[in-house]
Amino acid sequence: MLQEYIITQRCQEWITRSSIFSYLRDPEDCFLRILVMNNVAFLEKFYDLNSNLASSRRKLKLIQVNHSCVNNSKKSRPGLNSASSNREESVIDSMDDRLIAVATSRDREAYRTLYEHFAPRVKSFLLGKGSSPEVAEEAVQEAMLNVWRKASHFDPSKAAASTWIFAIARNTRIDLLRKENRPALDPNDPALVPDLPAPAFETVSAAQEANQIRERVAALPAEQQDVLRLAFFEDLAHSDVAERLGIPLGTVKSRIRLAVRRIRNEIGDSE
């Protein structure tokens, strides 16, 4: 079954840097997720490297490393404008790769690209939340340093780089500006109930999911987009969102629910 999947050059380089081992999550039952293309010999080598792990009844899941290859192999997804989304995906995928390069080889060039793309957006996010320009600069500095420091926690099977960096920016802001702890779960906690195993060859990566989410947000009716945007960017309680938009609180809540459902329920439908 695995012989059907082949590995690309790029994917190979990435894995041979043994970086992949930093993405081992629960060695008992959860595993690497690679989308493999173009090289059966490499796959065998990969199995050798992992023979100690493969020996018990552990499942091998494959990380999707080269998303452009995924696109080639996938059936066309309905509702996607392939020309524009491919261009966007390549930008986003390269951000994933760069974040991985920062994690695995402390790659400063890769980091610079991430910085140039994300730091100005993180600053806009903070300004939108009402930070003064001085405080926003301080928070950008701290958030972008956290991206460098915590890069090894990035898991491309769980989140796109932009999603991961958004979460870092959000948490940094809370730590720094509200002088409050941000209670966050610990993925290493032995009490954590692990994710259900994903299908062995999942065809939609976290980065692609992020793209689909972006498209669905853009396709929402304006009224639903507005409540989501206010909730994310103005730090407003739902009652304040209601006041701002001049609509009842119940309407705000139902729009949020509708918007979230519309975005989430459709995820996976196109598979």
């Binding site: 999550r25 629960d26 920062v102 402390r106 400063r108 610079r112 910085y115 730091a119 100005p120 957006r121 600053k123 806009s124 996010f125 300004l127 939108g128 926003a136 600069e137 301080e138 950008v140 972008m144 460098w148 420091r149 090894s152 769980k158 796109a160 932009s162 999603t163 960096i165 958004f166 959000r170 002088k179 702890n181 941000r182 209670p183 966050a184 779960l185 610990d186 290493n188 906690d189 032995p190 009490a191 954590l192 109930v193 692990p194 994710d195 999911e209 992020a210 989410i213 972006r214 947000v217 853009a218 989501l228 909730a231 994310f232 960017f233 949020i256 629910r257 979230v260 459902r261 995820i267």
Partner: protein, 221 residues
């Protein structure tokens, strides 16, 4: 383990956007540790936030800030998550209190400095930096009813061990109950096992019984 009662989308969205106060966030984050479905929901919501962030027009960042960042990049290897070691090291049963709650307590249930509430019940009030929310662990003995009460505001109750039920359903480990001022309920703890839960409220409870109201100021609920 299937979880039947989840936080609603608005709470998860506020957690994802960072708008939720620390006490509520603690309950949500601890639920997330026990609920893969809600973890996925939060990841999706964070992706929504990221998509908004990507659409913002970029603000220029000062050269001083950028230089400060690049000067502080250290070549030290990014710390690997400790989980491999942590997981391998622990053959014993996983803790009852998941993170981040365990960190707030400084250990598992055996480390909770319980205060007696009377009638065999115990509580521990978890200190928070922010004022205004009461965040507490409760231990109610097996088979006992909690006096009927209503709420001045919102209450989130996350079950960590044992179970309780009331008119709205039955709640076990990982289930979260959201109750507002419209519900008066009398939770009843199932027999066989004490019920430990995390309860977050933004206003004092209102007990229906005169006797419970009399002792309320003394037991600090």
């Amino acid at each position: 383990m299937n979880i039947d009662h989840h936080p609603n989308d608005e709470l998860l969205l506020d957690y994802s956007s960072g708008a939720l106060d620390e006490g509520w966030s603690l309950a949500i984050a601890t639920h997330l540790a026990l609920c893969p479905d809600c973890r996925q929901a939060v990841r999706d919501m964070e992706a929504i936030g990221a998509s908004f962030m990507e659409c913002l027009s970029p603000s220029s960042v000062s050269t001083a800030t950028s230089e400060a960042v690049f000067n502080q990049l250290s070549d030290d290897a990014a710390p690997l998550s400790e989980l491999d070691m942590a997981r391998r090291g622990s053959a014993e049963a996983p803790p009852i209190l998941p993170e981040p709650l365990r960190g707030y307590i400084g250990g598992d249930v055996d480390r909770v400095p319980w205060q007696r509430l009377g009638l065999g019940a115990f509580q521990y009030r978890i200190p928070m930096k922010e004022q205004g929310l009461a965040v507490r662990l409760l231990k109610i003995p097996a088979g006992r009813p909690v006096p009927a009460h209503s709420h001045g505001g919102l209450e989130l109750t996350l079950v960590l061990s044992g179970s309780f039920s009331d008119a709205t359903g039955s709640y076990k480990r990982g289930d979260i109950q959201e109750v507002d001022e419209t519900l008066e309920h009398q939770p009843h703890v199932a027999v066989g096992m004490d019920c430990i839960c995390l309860a977050v409220t933004d206003a004092p409870l209102r007990f229906s019984s005169f006797a419970a109201r009399l002792v309320q100021p003394f037991i600090g609920i």
